[in-house]
């Protein structure tokens, strides 16, 4: 026993010593909470040289397909042939995961949504992008350029890729009347208790806030990502109640696909690509819709890693993935509106861009795009809002 005590004290002393070392190494970290005034100054690429032979990407499922999911769905192999850059893709299941992966500095680029971009930009993990080196940038939809989630102070930090809404998906064999409201997944007396699914990420709190925005006007929610204490609490309470209805949270798209396939889930939030995969498997047919309250959604941007080991290959990828025919392929496969305006002429389904409102600025304005919640509310309320750290903690509590 005495020996073990001695060991414990040695270990404790070592721990303290190490902690001390750590504290002396602190350097210019921003204080928690407010948006820092300016992101770290990082050099921007000035020319695209010869490719480095390799490209390491983090992407959402369905964004960088090499034919392994579906033989006909392949835009990575032609890129490799054309550029000589061998592409390694790491699928990111959530924005948080993508941020964590980018922080390792081992990746050249990432297809980040709006709830990851600012964190990466201000964290110094991604470099500003020289849009003049990406010829296809010129014809990207104007309403996607210089937006708060992909630029800072007029400097673009990436190339817009595509956007869309998080849809409500259901299995019409079980859910016989098509739902028109998100209430279908929040109703405490839902007949589908135990068969409801929800997205396993703190950002899903915004979905609850969006529903409350329509159903409880007294809360005065204006933006589901800018929630003060009262509004936030209401959203958390709604989700805690929903927890009793949820059979399974999905964080990986494969979980939702298998869950609907097996009948464990019959209704819940989804990406269009999940629905496409389920319908493609043919075991179960599902339908999707954007409910009356509107929807949260994503506007994704390809960012270049600050420590990218293969920047030239990355710039070639930026241009490739936003080129009209490739952007059309990605958009149709994933089920989102392409960022590239010219992509609309290249889609296999001629009505695709109309269906997804690709060129419809008004429609795009109605989606509440994933944004990183910060203390600053972005309006007259000042710093009264809950930041992402609070969202993360609340999410653990919601799951209980």
């Amino acid at each position: 026993m005495r020996a073990s005590l001695r060991w414990a004290s040695v270990l404790g002393a070592a721990t303290l010593a190490l902690a001390g070392c750590g504290s002396s190494g602190t350097s210019g970290s921003t204080t928690a909470g407010n948006t820092p005034p300016a992101p770290p100054k990082l050099a921007m690429q000035s020319a695209v040289g010869a490719g480095e032979g390799t490209l390491n990407l983090i992407a959402w499922a369905g964004y960088a397909e090499n034919g392994s999911t579906d033989k006909k769905v392949d835009w990575v192999t032609p890129f490799q042939a054309q550029s000589g850059c061998k592409v390694n893709v790491k699928i990111g299941n959530t924005s948080d995961e993508m941020v964590a992966l980018m922080k390792t500095g081992q990746y050249d680029g990432v297809s980040a949504s709006g709830d990851a971009t600012l964190r990466l930009i201000y964290g110094g993990d991604v470099a500003p992008v020289n849009t003049s080196l990406v010829p296809n940038y010129a014809t990207i939809s104007d309403f996607l350029k210089d937006r708060p989630w992909n630029s800072v102070g007029g400097q673009m930090y990436g190339i817009p890729h595509g956007w869309g809404a998080n849809v409500l998906m259901w299995n019409p064999k079980v859910v016989t009347t098509a739902p028109t409201s998100w209430g279908a997944v929040f109703d405490p007396s839902s007949p589908y208790q135990g068969k409801i699914t929800a997205y396993d990420s703190p950002i899903y709190i915004a979905d609850a806030a969006l529903y409350l925005k329509a159903t409880r006007p007294e809360l005065k929610i204006t933006n589901p990502y800018e929630l003060d204490a009262t509004q936030f609490q209401a959203a958390v309470e709604l989700l805690k109640a929903q927890r009793k209805l949820v059979g399974e949270y999905w964080s990986s798209y494969t979980t939702e696909v298998s869950s609907f396939g097996a009948g464990n889930s019959v209704i819940g939030t989804a990406w269009q690509v999940n629905a496409n995969l389920i319908n493609g498997e043919g075991k179960v047919k599902v339908e999707t819709a954007v409910p009356s309250e509107g929807a949260t959604g994503w506007s994704d941007t390809w960012l270049v890693g600050a420590k990218a080991a293969h920047p030239n290959c990355m710039y070639r990828w930026l241009d490739w993935i936003t080129s009209p025919s490739v952007n059309a392929q990605v958009a149709e496969w994933f089920g989102e509106a392409p960022a590239q305006t010219k992509a609309c002429d290249r889609t296999a389904d001629e009505t695709f861009c109309t269906t997804f409102h690709a060129l419809d600025q008004d429609y795009a304005g109605k989606i509440s795009y994933w944004t990183t919640p910060t203390k600053s509310c972005g309006d007259g309320r000042g710093n009264a809002c809950e930041d992402y750290a609070a969202w993360t903690q609340a999410w653990t509590q919601i799951k209980g």
């Binding site: 902690a19 970290s29 941020v99 992966l101 964290g123 653990t396 509590q397």
Partner: protein
């Protein structure tokens, strides 16, 4: 002379290089250096790579992250520990994890004991070999394959629901129960093997003596077998308990909306939002297992591993 034998008949050895001779001579004269040389590699591994990384992790538990950029702030603070202790949710999840680990251990012990007894005392040598192989083969399959196999079996259209349908019921939905079943399956071999080894050391003559003295089978089991094999059960429980306590993958696959303590650690680090909090949370399973080990040390089970 037989051409197959060397002229010296293998009696003189080939001369070794001088440097080697000198080194070996030095080592021979200095036993302490010899010992250090022998142990340095494993010690380096144990102290630097193993304990060192643990110490580093607990040092990181005192850091925090910038809530916006997620960058590390290397200023010691007890906030992480305070959050863990004061917020109810972490206590709830910790208790749930302990309950799952404990029930997996108990259920595994209850299944493993009769199986191991049959293996060690009843089965013929041939059957025994076959059954031991059967117990071991699942260890050859990947963890994920087994967990997903259980997901398929426990799913709504799975074999369990299909088998239960004639009785007007269905299998349990994904949750704590399905997680327990899957973990129980995954760690069962780790319980069977120590008990099997313990029972093999138990002389048959003791069982016979007990029977000769008029004890019933149940009485023999309680007063002879169980006390002697108890340390082996405890040894097995170390595996099942600590493996269950640290698991976060099975619960992701078959746990539905359940979260266990390891998920909190995983979500904090792989979610990328708060690695220092993950380090702080990791203290709980470490302490729980250390406490468990300290408790069973009194039973003397550790000497029987």
């Amino acid at each position: 002379m037989d051409p197959g034998v060397d002229p010296d008949q293998g009696l003189t050895r080939r001369r070794r290089p001088r440097a080697v001779v000198r080194v070996s001579g030095f080592l021979h004269r200095h036993p302490l250096v010899r010992l250090l040389g022998l142990l340095s590699a494993p010690m380096l591994w144990l102290v630097v790579a193993y304990l060192g990384s643990l110490a580093l992790m607990f040092a990181a538990a005192l850091w925090s992250v910038d809530s916006f950029t997620g960058n590390l702030i290397r200023v010691p603070t007890l906030d992480n520990l305070r959050t863990l202790i004061t917020q109810d949710v972490y206590r709830t999840v910790a208790l749930r994890s302990l309950a799952v680990a404990a029930s997996v251990t108990v259920v595994d012990a209850m299944i493993a004991l009769p199986m191991a007894f049959y293996l060690a005392k009843v089965a013929s040598p041939g059957t025994q070999r076959l059954l031991v192989a059967a117990v071991l083969t699942p260890l050859w399959a990947s963890y994920l394959v087994k967990a997903y196999a259980w997901r398929t079996m426990l799913a709504n259209d799975g074999v369990l629901s299909w088998a239960l349908r004639p009785f007007g019921t269905s299998g349990p939905d994904f949750g704590v129960v399905t997680t327990g079943i899957t973990l129980g399956y995954l760690w069962l071999p780790f319980m069977i093997l120590p008990i099997f080894a313990g029972l093999q050391r138990l002389p048959d003559s003791l069982l016979e003596a007990s029977a000769d003295l008029g004890a019933s089978a149940g009485w023999t089991f309680r007063s002879v077998v169980l006390p002697l094999v108890f340390p082996s059960i405890v040894a097995g429980s170390i595996f099942t308990f600590s493996l269950s306590l640290g698991d976060y993958i099975a619960v992701k696959i078959v746990g539905g909306s359940t979260q266990l303590f390891a998920n909190i650690i995983y979500d904090s680090i792989a979610g990328g939002t708060n690695p220092p909090f993950a380090a702080a949370a990791a203290l709980f399973p470490v302490l729980a297992v250390l406490l468990y080990l300290a408790l069973i040390r009194r039973t003397g089970a550790l000497e029987n591993l």
